[in-house]
């Protein structure tokens, strides 16, 4: 097992800080792309690392620490998005918030910037599926399990997300 992880498991905060420095960029990128909100992404990144510290004891080293951490990140963000969706539903009584999303205006700029902006403009669920599959490399089965939907639904959502994204980029 990574010696930094072992030291952090023993309560060494300096070792944990090194783990934080090594992984914060990847965790924040994941939170940012899934939420499309920089300040929410910062809050969730903090939450992820606080939870990681609490749960380090359950990390057994069967997978790479980074894989374990990124999966924890996905679960934390999905949990937050579910809670927010439930709360918003109660407030708006909307049957499907995805349909109510308003796309952000397309900015001028290079391909990567356009692509990032296009991903941010996607409806939340479509964005989540696209980030998990196309950027993070999860399979349809894994995306389905993480989001508690059937793999076929995950696949359909992905294709819809790609179509929406392309439509947004081409306008």
């Amino acid at each position: 097992m990574n010696p930094l992880v072992s030291r952090a498991q023993d309560g060494d905060q300096a070792a944990f800080e090194q783990l934080y420095r090594a992984h914060v960029g990847r965790v924040y990128a994941l939170c940012l792309r899934m939420t499309a909100d920089p300040s929410r992404a910062e809050e969730l990144t903090q939450d992820v690392f606080v939870r990681t510290w609490r749960r380090l004891g359950s990390f057994r080293g069967r997978s790479a620490f980074s894989s374990w951490l990124y999966r924890l990140t996905v679960n934390v963000v999905l949990g937050a998005l579910r809670t927010e969706r439930r709360r918003d539903r109660r407030v708006t009584l909307a049957a499907d918030l995805d349909e109510l999303e308003v796309a952000a205006p397309a900015p001028a700029g290079g391909t990567a910037l356009d692509l990032e902006a296009g991903i941010r403009a996607l409806p939340p669920r479509a964005r989540t599926v696209l980030v998990l599959h196309d950027i993070e490399g999860y399979t349809h089965d894994e995306v389905g399990k993480l989001m508690d939907i059937a793999p076929g639904t995950a696949k359909a959502q992905l294709h819809r997300a790609r179509t929406l994204l392309r439509g947004w980029l081409e306008r």
Binding site: Q9, A41, E42, L115
Partner: protein, 213 residues
Amino acid sequence: MTHPDATNLHEYADGTLPAASVPVLEGHLEGCAACREEVGRLRRYLADVARLPRSIEPGRDLWTDIQSNLVVRRKRDPTHPWTRRVALLAAAVVLVVMSSVITRMVVQPRAPTPAMGLDRGPEMLVRFQQTEREYARAIAELEEVLEVARSRLAPETVVLIERNLAVIDAAIDEARMTIAQDSAGVEVLVMLTQRYEDKLELLRRVTRLATQS
């Protein structure tokens, strides 16, 4: 011309289309400029996505805020599965020890009178108190684990658990008061042991539930 389903084009571009379907689709692509163009667009999109940075630094250093929320952890974390196992093992050891103590007390030849009680001698009380301390230690460990994990339980579950623990604790207090008044017999010790066992079992089940959820 019948075009393939859009899903097939996505899967072909992703490289996940089942091998048996590939020749059919490629046959179609040879004669269909529109689908070739669609596959080309999908591949360009995938290449663009693959070039996106995997890492983005947040706008500010989050470490200070994170550190202020880290609970100082002892070297042996109660949430660690090994520690949990130790706690359960401790409870199991206590059960074995207690069973043997009770068995010895019950099966030793003696007159069926109040002499069976604690007035048979201070050594039985001392032995029981030692066992009781072991119960207390095992219970405290499980309570510590539960404290860490209780946020994962539904509020109604927490209420139910606390109600049950209160009932068991009341029975334990009553039995201990009886012992303190020197009026206890072996049956009180057996009853007290059973209440400790009830408490351990409840805590074991709840911690298992909370740490698995």
